[in-house]
């Protein structure tokens, strides 16, 4: 409803009440504290209210607000009710309770007596309003799975090529009496090291990417929110996943190698 309000700038001589506007509106409309503006609920209104800008607010860090480009203003409740002809009505109440038990009691009491409205826990509302982010999160996970499959195949290919490049070395080792197990262990350790080094580089590239994403989207949406976070748990998961994939690829590639007779590996 707030976003449907229209601002008209004009100096006035009355003693109007104050409003608070968001910093984007202040920047875009070149408004500052103390400026007088006209407010009306419809563009054709002939008797708009005059108010003074009393505060400029930072945009909240609410992710639900990120994609919305409308300007926001905060005004006294009775002013808004009057300007929009909303009567003595409100859209919602926020009730602070001292503890969980009091919240439960308040919920039961309000919902048993209420007519035309319901009481909800804040966390339930948060779950309901965060559905967009749940969807995005599921989408990212699905993309993540596809990426993991692609990396697994890539890693397997590389390991296969690496061990095949050393067919003759392995053949020589086997003919010298080095056991299959030792050869296999060497290949798997090499694969694990490769995966670890790759993960370390990946974390570095990811960190740079994350910084770029945050810088870019903070600029686009003009918000202090962090869009990309690299947490220790994410790094641990990525490194573990990479290790598991690397070791599996190493085992598969080395199995192929040690099962081939040394002379065949020599090409004879």
């Amino acid at each position: 409803m707030l976003s449907s309000l229209f601002l008209f700038f004009l100096l006035q001589q009355a003693t109007p009440r104050t409003i608070a506007i968001d910093e984007r509106l202040a920047a875009d409309a070149h408004l500052k504290i103390g400026d007088r503006v006209y407010l009306s609920a419809t563009p054709e209104s002939r008797s708009p209210d005059t108010v003074i800008i009393g505060a400029i607010l930072k945009r909240s860090n609410d992710p639900a607000e990120v994609a919305r480009s409308e300007y926001r203003i905060h005004m006294h409740l009775d002013d808004l009710q009057s300007i929009t002809a909303y009567g003595d009505r409100v859209d919602r109440y926020a009730v602070a309770t001292p503890n969980e038990a009091a919240t439960t009691r308040a919920l039961t009491k309000i919902n048993s007596a209420a007519f035309g409205f319901d009481a909800h826990r804040s966390k339930d509302i948060a779950i309901g309003t965060s559905k967009t982010f749940q969807v995005v999160s599921r989408f990212h996970k699905a993309i993540g799975v596809i990426t993991i499959v692609a990396s697994a195949i890539f890693l397997l290919c590389i390991m296969l090529l690496k061990v095949e490049e050393r067919r003759r070395d392995v053949a020589a080792l086997r003919l010298m009496g080095i056991s299959r197990r030792t050869v296999m262990r060497a290949v798997v350790i090499e694969a694990a090291l490769l995966a670890l080094l790759g993960s370390a580089m990946g974390v570095g590239v990811g960190w740079i990417g994350s910084q770029f994403v945050n810088w870019y989207y903070r600029g686009v949406y003009r918000t202090p929110l962090a869009f990309s976070l690299i947490t220790p748990s994410i790094v641990t998961l990525a490194v573990l996943l990479s290790l598991v994939l690397g070791i599996s690829a190493g085992i598969l590639a080395s199995l192929r190698l040690v099962r081939t007779p040394p002379l065949v590996l020599f090409g004879r």
């Binding site: 449907s4 419809t42 409205f117 969807v135 699905a142 990426t147 499959v149 397997l156 290919c157 989207y217």
Partner: protein, 395 residues
């Protein structure tokens, strides 16, 4: 001849070739999905907006249709002005609101549209009849099953509450005339439609002549700009939104997905390119002696280059074809995830299949296949023949 040699070279290491093709297939699938996503939303939304032929939409100034609770006043006068223009084939005013259906000890709430059934462009009738009488109401399937009512039943419907008097406001008895599907309805959203005047009468007095949206169908051949100008000159309190302007707004809101598509598409293309380059380079390194012999017996550089580039292209193209199928499956799955976005019309597809998308993905992969063969083929073509043969003989 280069085809035969390239094919023989690929068949020499079947596991390796198969894995490479599989890798390219996954990259191709992701690439196709991202190409579909980058263009699909816009096309899907355009199709939806044009599904009933309304090219213009009017919304309260400063807002988009149904983006806020704001309404346009003097609807009857606005409709009269607009219908007086012979260039406009149809004008469909719509008012949005909320309805409450008391059913025993519970109340079912749904969104409602008041419209003119003769020129509406918001729903399609599934069963029963349109709300042609003032006391008719039609509901979508989700609301129909929630109500547990049948077509022909009379329902008590209200538009609000008065908590102090504990009474419903705008209460009226309406006859359930039919079942509908809203074209712009979101998944799991209860909705109903009735005549515009009925909803206006049931709503608070300030909405007695209000509407939230007006849709206009323009006669063929009439320039869009002149129609927009004509409206702006006569009605200054509305936003005139063309299909292109609406699409730009959608693009703006869903910009994140387009950027993600561009980013992931580039990454998948690069990964595919890297995989093919690595494989072809190693394959060339292994066959360095053979290539030197070929050059020594008179096979031209161009022939060698063609054979190696063909290897890369073959891996890319075969992998890409497999990837297209995989991409359709994953695209469908990803679409099912994004379709559950709250408030998004159910009919919108994020991953819209278009032959153009497939050709784009295939073309990009073919190009990356050619690019992947450039370095190894250059290396092979520039081999010093005598030195290479001597080194190979010693080895």
């Amino acid at each position: 001849m280069p085809f035969t040699l390239a094919w023989a070279s690929l068949r020499r290491h079947p596991t390796r070739t198969l894995l490479a093709m599989l890798g390219v297939a996954v990259s191709a699938a992701l690439l196709l999905d991202m190409v579909m996503m980058s263009t699909g939303m816009r096309e899907s939304f355009r199709t939806l907006l044009l599904s009933r032929g309304f090219q213009l939409r009017l919304a309260p100034k400063g807002t988009l249709p149904f983006d806020t609770d704001a309404t346009m006043l003097n609807t009857r006068e606005m409709v009269r002005i607009l219908r007086a223009n012979p260039d406009f084939n149809a004008v469909s005013p719509v008012l949005g609101g909320t309805l409450h259906f008391p059913r025993g000890d519970r109340v079912i709430t749904a969104s409602a549209l008041g419209l003119d059934p003769a020129v509406q462009g918001d729903y399609e009738l599934l069963a029963g009849r349109a709300p042609t009488r003032p006391d008719d109401i039609v509901v979508n399937n989700f609301l129909y099953s929630s109500l547990g009512a049948r077509i022909g039943d009379t329902l008590r419907v209200a538009t609000g509450y008065d908590p102090q008097t504990r009474e419903y406001s705008g209460m009226r008895k309406l006859v359930l005339a039919g079942r509908i599907r809203f074209l712009y309805g979101a998944m799991h959203q209860r909705g109903a439609a009735m005549q515009l005047q009925t909803l206006q009468q049931m709503s608070p007095p300030e909405k007695a002549d209000a509407s939230s949206l007006m849709m206009i169908r323009i006669r063929d051949g009439v320039p869009m700009d002149s129609a927009i100008q004509w409206i702006k000159q006569r009605i200054s309190t509305v936003n005139v939104i063309s299909i292109e302007a609406a699409l730009d707004q959608v693009d703006e809101r869903l910009r994140y997905f387009r950027q993600l598509a561009a980013m992931l598409g580039s990454v998948s293309l690069f990964v595919g390119f890297l995989l093919v380059t690595t494989l072809v380079t190693i394959s060339v390194n292994e066959r360095i002696g053979e290539i030197a012999v070929m050059r020594a017996i008179g096979i031209s550089r161009a022939h060698v280059v063609a054979q190696i580039v063909l290897e890369g292209v073959a891996i890319s193209i075969i992998g890409a074809f497999a990837g297209l199928l995989l991409g359709l499956v994953t695209g469908r799955y990803l679409n099912s995830i994004l379709s559950s976005f709250p408030g998004l019309p159910e009919a919108i597809d994020f991953f819209l299949w278009q032959p153009k998308s497939a050709w784009t993905a295939l073309g990009l992969l073919a190009l990356s296949g050619i690019a992947a063969g450039v370095y190894p083929s250059f290396r092979a073509a520039s081999l010093p023949i005598a030195t290479t043969l001597r080194e190979e003989a010693i080895a």
